[in-house]
Symmetry: C2
Subunit: 226 residues, 2 copies
């Protein structure tokens, strides 16, 4: 069990600009790429040893990550990699259902060409059945949508939410291939946008998000019987 930590590459001897920031981004990456699975406990002593930083600095890193939604901190119990439940899935989609259609409908900086480009990559990934690439493209697609709002804070919230989405998929490793559905749906959105039907695109995206939420919830409930 403690072997988990040995896989974490230590930082080189050089001094990092902000150690706590470096700690946070390192852990973020470990979690995003599935090397630290949902539910894992992040022991302070073990981690501070593995990363070569003091417990105090590690705790600052934890505090930074806490707002990232990907860890859950339980007082006097410790820090764990978040393992999203049904409520989290609903929360994620409540956020997305608000921000993304609004960005499509009213965002002042909508970049349809960039969206088309991403669709192209997604289609290529779909042909070779490369799920990881499709997931990346999907994430980029939705980040680009949010970028239309012109708000850095909304973009940040969106990447946090999408990071948590990845945890959902890591926790449901037996999930069917949702991503290939997304490719064609995203393509239909771009078609609507290309003909200037932004409001219709917003409505359609809402339908898509509702569908995706229902699909995920169904799979979660069935794979997580109580």
């Amino acid at each position: 069990m403690s072997e988990i930590y040995t896989s974490i590459p230590l930082g080189d001897g050089s001094t990092h600009a902000h150690t706590s920031t470096w700690v946070a981004s390192t852990l973020r990456q470990e979690i995003a790429e599935g090397r630290l699975l949902p539910g894992s406990k992040l022991s302070e002593q073990a981690l501070s040893n593995a990363l070569g930083v003091s417990r105090n600095t590690l705790r600052e890193g934890f505090t930074l990550l806490d707002s990232d939604l990907i860890i859950s901190r339980i007082p006097n119990r410790g820090v764990f990699v978040a393992s999203p439940d049904a409520a989290d899935i609903r929360e994620i989609y409540a956020v997305r259902r608000t921000i993304e259609p609004a960005a499509l409908a009213w965002g002042p900086k909508l970049d349809i060409d960039e969206l088309s480009r991403i669709i192209g990559h997604a289609r290529a990934a779909a042909e070779t059945e490369n799920i990881a690439l499709m997931a990346d493209a999907n994430q980029q697609f939705h980040e680009t949508i949010v970028r239309a709002t012109g708000s850095a804070h909304l973009l940040e919230l969106m990447s946090r939410v999408l990071a948590k989405m990845r945890l959902v998929f890591h926790a449901m490793s037996d999930a069917p291939d949702f991503h290939s559905h997304y490719v064609s749906r995203n393509g239909a959105l771009v078609d609507l946008l290309n003909t200037g039907q932004r409001m219709e695109a917003a409505d359609t995206l809402q339908v898509y998000l509702n569908t995706a939420e229902a699909e995920l919830l169904e799979h979660y409930e069935s794979s997580q019987p109580r």
Copy 2:
């Protein structure tokens, strides 16, 4: 200059559940109520003394506040109460223009009665020309709108944004009375909602937000000549 800190009430001797959390919320309150003005430097030594906590714990509190947008942390320079500039105002309104109209148009938990109630309080405050109460009512009004999305994260982002809005007003203490305008505008919104015209309310709110942003920016530019 150091007298600023003496005004901060110390915590009682009792142990706080999470000291860093307590530190953060204490500072948040001090800033929100204008006892710590934009631009003030928050010295680690002075503050840790005044609050009766160690520098380490204070730093954890800083890290918590950092995601609240109301402080700015400059590496090796220190922590300052944020003093919003034109870009911040634009960012605030980019967020609000996205979230709030979406909440009005599509939010599944829109509570029109609660909005009417808040309008009542705002009108009462307007009659007695109590600006603080009007500001409070305005904040509640817009938080209630966002609550319609059903998302705790969006609500949290909104309160952060509104907290930063308060800093804008603190920084422009010579600002004219914007709030009384808001009261009647919010009233018009509720009228639209009461007749079931949610989309029209969303559009109207967007116009209002654009107007308010322009007013604030104009006042900022003129009062902050370079």
